[in-house]
């Protein structure tokens, strides 16, 4: 069953084409997007989640499109950054409450997610005191807020310790099982411990994306 349809996609920087393809239909489920450094994975993810402008059309199966329904579309797609950056004086709690409210996530749901990622231990401290792993946990927690149909995780495993990785895989498995959430994940490490498959693999190479 098709979840996301992308048509006539192209993204350029300073007239240089970074990524372009005529059509891509992404079914429900979990998808692993692979590609070398600089191949355009993050650019593709950021365009999908509405962070970067692009040419083309991106829409969910029910017609909710990023171009025509920018607010509704953004409610259904969440993004966890590879290298998160937040204002140093803000606390994790400030950011979670703000993002949670806009994504329609109740405070109890926010607490459940932050507890899963063991964020309460540092959520009242300012971000400037966080390690890379703590920032990553915060960015992952934000990606699970609300009721998204699709969660995009860009390099979710980097800077996470073994325990935190297990927690992340539990969370992904839970979201697939309970909410039917789809995932698009980029990772240079092997994605393991995800019990609900199959995992489709896409490769971004030569400025285009193909199903491997």
């Amino acid at each position: 069953m098709i979840m996301l349809t992308i048509k006539n996609f192209s993204k350029s920087y300073y007239q240089e084409k970074i990524l372009s393809f005529p059509e891509l239909k992404i079914p429900k489920g979990i998808h692993w997007v692979k590609g070398e450094n600089g191949s355009g994975k993050t650019t593709f993810f950021k365009a999908l989640s509405g962070l970067l402008p692009y040419h083309g059309e991106i829409s969910f199966d029910d017609g909710i499109s990023l171009n025509n329904n920018p607010v509704h579309f953004r409610k259904l797609i969440n993004y966890g950054e590879a290298e998160p950056l937040y204002p140093g004086f803000l606390t994790a709690k400030d950011i979670i409450r703000f993002v949670g409210k806009t994504k329609g996530s109740s405070v109890s749901h926010q607490k459940k997610i932050t507890e899963h990622f063991e964020i309460p231990a540092f959520e009242e401290k300012s971000c400037q005191t966080y390690s890379s792993g703590m920032l990553k946990k915060l960015s992952l927690a934000l990606a699970f807020l609300g009721t998204p149909r699709c969660i995009i995780l860009d390099e979710p495993l980097i800077t996470l310790d073994e325990h935190a990785r297990c927690r992340l895989f539990d969370m992904i498995n839970d979201s697939i099982r309970k909410d039917g959430t789809s995932f698009l994940i980029s990772s240079h490490q092997v994605i393991e411990n995800i019990s609900i498959g199959p995992i489709n693999t896409y490769t971004i190479q030569d400025k285009t994306i193909t199903l491997a």
């Binding site: 509405g50 920018p70 937040y86 140093g88 606390t91 329609g104 300012s126 971000c127 400037q128």
Partner: protein
């Protein structure tokens, strides 16, 4: 050693002037634009005439030194500047010799003004003033250098969090509109203060003119135009803050109206002193019907500048140039007696349309220097 001095100069002094270019532009505009050479000399003579009056420039110098110290601390802690900490391996006198040149460069504006004050004091035979100025400047140079050397030698010490901050963080979470206000207070307090001082003093001067003569509403409107357009540096910083540090908000399901309302709320809060001043000093013989439009007019200028920022990536220098053209156009409209509400509606509509049309299509390419977290600590 020459290479170390050059490197430190590039990292600290050049960057300090680059980041504070807007502040220095405003300062030069205020000093060179409004006062002649004779008036500067008269002011200097006034300052040096008594120890109490000398406190005015001395306090400004200490404020400036505080800004330099804070900048040097933040810059030393940037991830890309971590190698600077290796300087603490050098002998203490070499640390001083390498730090002093760039610190003197950073403090150059106040050193030059202190020399000017000292020369005026010598001319008026106020030798105690010369002594006092020299002592203060030496103290400031020593204080700034010691603070830098201390940063080098204590770079691995823990960051302390105030108990009150900890308490507030545990009890409350910040609202979206607070993010930028707190950021600008921490990151560029001088720009915020400079802008507010400029706009409030201008509005105060304009409204006071109405006490001596009966001008029509156009003089007030012209003052409002310059005072509110003077916020463009803050608006520029607001956009950069949202695009760099809050880039994730583009993924949030916030409508264009909500995003714009947040901007209006932030700049209404920042402009409260100006609005208060206008309401308090509003000329009694002008129609009170104009009063609400003076506030709407201010907000409409903010929205137009903000909307324009999303049309294409623009540097601060270009924004200043283009805003100057905008000010001229508005002033001409005012001179031609176009009602304030008409101008406000046009600016508000144009700004909102520009923002709506370009927000999602805009892409901010962040310069590498801005991509750090510790700068706004």
């Amino acid at each position: 050693m020459k290479n170390i001095i050059l490197t430190l100069n590039r990292i600290f002094a050049l960057e300090f002037y680059r980041l504070n270019a807007a502040f220095f532009l405003v300062l030069i505009g205020l000093c060179a634009g409004f006062m002649s050479g004779v008036e500067h000399q008269a002011l200097a003579a006034y300052f040096t005439s008594s120890p109490f009056l000398l406190l005015v420039p001395v306090l400004c110098w200490f404020f400036y030194a505080g800004k330099v110290i804070s900048f040097n601390q933040k810059t030393s802690n940037l991830p890309e500047n971590i190698f600077i900490r290796d300087l603490f391996l050098l002998k203490r006198h070499i640390q001083w010799a390498t730090a002093l040149p760039f610190i003197l460069s950073e403090l150059m504006p106040i050193i030059l003004y202190s020399i000017f004050l000292a020369l005026v004091a010598i001319d008026k035979s106020m030798l105690w003033s010369v002594a006092l100025i020299s002592i203060v400047i030496i103290m400031i140079v020593l204080m700034t250098t010691i603070a830098f050397i201390r940063t080098l030698n204590h770079s691995l010490s823990e960051t302390k969090v105030w108990a009150l901050r900890h308490y507030l963080n545990s009890r409350f979470s910040r609202f979206h509109f607070q993010f930028f206000i707190e950021w600008i207070v921490r990151r560029d307090f001088a720009v915020l203060m400079g802008t507010k001082l400029f706009s409030c003093l201008l509005l105060l001067a304009i409204t006071n003119l109405y006490q001596t003569d009966r001008y029509d509403w156009r003089l007030l409107a012209m003052g409002l135009t310059i005072a509110f357009a003077g916020h463009l540096v803050l608006i520029f910083h607001f956009q950069r803050f949202e695009e760099i540090y809050l880039s994730f908000i583009r993924n949030l399901p916030l409508s264009i109206v909500k995003r714009l309302l947040n901007f209006i709320l932030v700049f209404t809060l920042i402009s409260l002193p100006d609005f208060g001043l206008i309401i308090r000093n509003f000329p009694s013989f002008l129609s009170t019907g104009i009063l609400p439009f003076t506030i709407v007019f201010g907000i409409s200028i903010f929205i137009l500048i903000y909307g324009y920022l999303y049309t294409s990536p623009v540097s601060l220098e270009k924004l200043i140039q283009r805003s100057f053209a905008l000010i001229i156009i508005i002033l001409i409209l005012i001179l031609f007696n176009i009602p304030l509400w008409v101008i406000s509606v046009v600016l508000l509509t144009t700004g909102s349309i520009l923002y709506k049309k370009h927000y999602y299509a805009f892409e901010f390419i962040a310069p590498l220097k801005s991509k750090n977290n510790s700068q706004d600590s």
